[in-house]
């Protein structure tokens, strides 16, 4: 079902790493840490993150770790970068981290993106915080990729800086194309349809991308989200409905071949 064999196995057990950097890009925070004990992840893989001071937030949460795609993992370094949007008690905690603080992580987990097939040109489609896995993928792709990203407004569009040669769209028109990123996608496909689409973003956007690619018969790999408790296949909580039945997104995803899905639905607990 998974689009790919790109899976780097994780060291067994959570490990503590020091936070080394913290930058703001509009509403998003980029956390850097030094993961000397871990391997270099594949693009599209994710980590389960916790802080040492987990819990005690709204409704006495968070309790469980939270899943985050790796934003960047510069080769020949031990650095890992994550993109965090503060939407609730878990991301609250992570968004507070400063250099020198401790971050507890498990990973890399899940399946990453697979290389384009049949010499197709990679086309990256991202929405909001969903741009994270596309940044590391752009870093790793040999071939020049076209990138279209959608945001709510120019404030959120600050996240576009994290990739290069980007066409941006905003829902309120305050920056770049006025409208949805899927309109930019259609554009790109009109120019050149011999592409392989890689998409990550809110469920509604992914569903639009899936539909467009299905109609035009263009291969697409979608990085999905769902509520997760463990991240390594232990709880069976993160399933998404596919043509092959329920799949655990943490071990059979998060990257899925668009053709394995009848539709993209929000599976709860993501954002």
């Amino acid at each position: 079902m998974s689009a790919t064999a790109e899976r780097v196995t994780a060291p067994f057990g959570t490990r503590a790493v020091p936070v080394t950097s913290r930058q703001h890009h509009g509403p998003y925070i980029v956390l850097g840490c030094a993961d000397t004990a871990g391997p270099r992840p594949a693009a599209g893989q994710f980590y389960m993150l916790m802080t040492t001071r987990w819990g005690g937030g709204q409704d006495e949460r968070p309790f469980l770790p939270r899943a985050f795609s790796v934003l960047r993992a510069p080769a020949a370094t031990s650095e890992l970068q994550f993109l965090v949007q503060d939407v609730g008690p878990g991301t609250n905690r992570l968004a507070e981290l400063e250099p020198g603080d401790e971050l507890s992580l498990l990973g890399p987990l899940g399946n990453g993106f697979a290389a384009p097939r049949e010499g197709r040109r990679p086309l990256l489609v991202g929405g909001g915080v969903g741009i994270a896995p596309l940044a590391i993928w752009q870093d790793q792709l040999e071939r020049e990729a076209a990138v279209v990203l959608g945001f709510r407004d120019s404030y959120h569009a600050a996240g576009a800086r994290l990739l290069h040669q980007v066409r941006v769209g905003t829902e309120d028109g305050s920056q770049g194309h006025h409208g949805l990123v899927t309109e930019l996608l259609e554009d790109e496909l009109d120019l050149d349809s011999h592409v392989q689409v890689y998409a990550c973003g809110p469920p509604a956007m992914l569903e639009a991308v899936r539909l467009t690619c299905a109609v035009r018969e263009i291969p697409a790999q979608l990085a999905l989200e769902s509520g997760m408790a463990c991240g390594f296949g232990a709880c069976f909580g993160c399933v998404v409905a596919t043509k092959h039945g329920y799949l655990r997104l943490c071990v059979d995803g998060p990257v899925l071949d668009a053709r394995s899905l009848d539709t993209v639905v929000f599976a709860g607990g993501g954002h």
Binding site: E60, P65, G227, A229, F232, G233, G237, G268, G269
Partner: protein
């Protein structure tokens, strides 16, 4: 601190709680390190049913203060698929294998027990009785007669240890425990999850695809300790205690009230190596004086006649 449990020798008293660790998926995530650093002294597999099950529709998880509520719905390949696909791989684990089974009738459970009775890879069976018996509509594990009735049917079918996993959602858990012991259970395990519910904060409709779910983790620790303690007072057979164990001290509590083994569930979601860590913490702090080797307090704890809370 190796221990003996129903004739099985274990390196330490920490095992996993059924359905909270998938050794096959974990091998995909962690590679060979999983086998090298296997965190549990025995591996308990997720509940196997006769027919395959998809499980409940998502969302299946709801986070609680110090806990988790799940409505997974027992997805599994079913007996045939398990025997062909899962069992051979689980048999390669470095620890004894305990298979957890559930049936919706005595006959279903009997078929499951019979199938595993002849498999040498299986060290013991755990019976998940937290489901209604379609013949009577009663939850097997909530009614002493139901449990006795079930064991009379399946006990003769195998020489392997039969561990009956009790449900905490019952008026008189010790009574069910005694019934299971008298009907030939080799051991008991508890607690299973406590029934709970959550609503979507936006729509006020049930959040979980299964509508209600089961609560686990630190939030159930105190209830678990109370039930394990009462059951240990009620029976002579060994008891596997579980519920909210996240540290060696929590495991020690369960051993202190009489548990022979301790199972770790939800904490493994926070750290897959939790079992290793908890076993190590146990080694460091042996039981204080005044406890028998089985761990039952040498006195005091029987004054159950005292008035309740409030």
């Amino acid at each position: 601190m190796s221990v003996h449990f129903c004739g099985i020798e274990l390196a330490h008293p920490i095992i996993n709680a059924s359905g909270t660790f998938d050794a096959i998926a974990a091998r995909r995530a962690f590679g060979d390190q999983l086998a090298e650093q296997f965190p549990f002294a025995a591996f308990v597999s997720k509940t196997v049913t006769l027919a395959p099950r998809q499980g409940n529709p998502p969302p299946r998880l709801w986070e609680l203060p110090g806990g988790l509520m799940n409505s997974i719905g027992l997805p599994n390949r079913g007996l045939a698929g398990y025997l062909v696909k899962d069992l051979p791989e689980l048999a390669t684990l470095p620890v004894p294998l305990i298979v957890n089974v559930m049936g919706f009738s005595r006959d279903e459970v009997a078929q499951l027990v019979r199938a595993f009775a002849e498999r040498d890879e299986v060290a013991a069976l755990e019976l998940n009785v937290s489901c209604p018996n379609v013949e009577t509509g009663l939850v097997m594990g909530a009614d002493p007669r139901e449990v006795a009735w079930l064991l009379e049917t399946v006990r003769p079918l195998t020489d392997k240890p039969l561990i009956v996993k009790l449900t905490p959602n019952a008026s008189d858990v010790p009574a069910v425990a005694r019934a299971a012991e008298q009907a030939g259970a080799s051991a008991l395990s508890l607690i299973n999850t406590i029934r709970g519910m959550a609503l979507d904060p936006l729509t006020r409709a049930p959040w979980l695809g299964g509508l209600t779910g089961g609560v686990s983790g630190p939030a159930v620790r105190a209830a678990a300790l109370a039930q394990v303690s009462s059951v240990c007072e009620a029976v002579q057979i060994p008891v596997v205690g579980m519920g909210g164990v996240a540290s060696g001290s929590h495991a020690r509590d369960l051993l202190a009230v009489g548990a022979a083994l301790v199972a770790v569930g939800t904490e493994s979601f926070r750290n897959p190596a939790a079992g290793t860590q908890i076993a190590a913490e146990l080694e460091l702090r042996p039981l204080p004086a005044g406890f028998r080797s089985e761990g039952t307090p040498s006195g005091g704890a029987k004054r159950s006649d005292l008035p309740g809370p409030g």
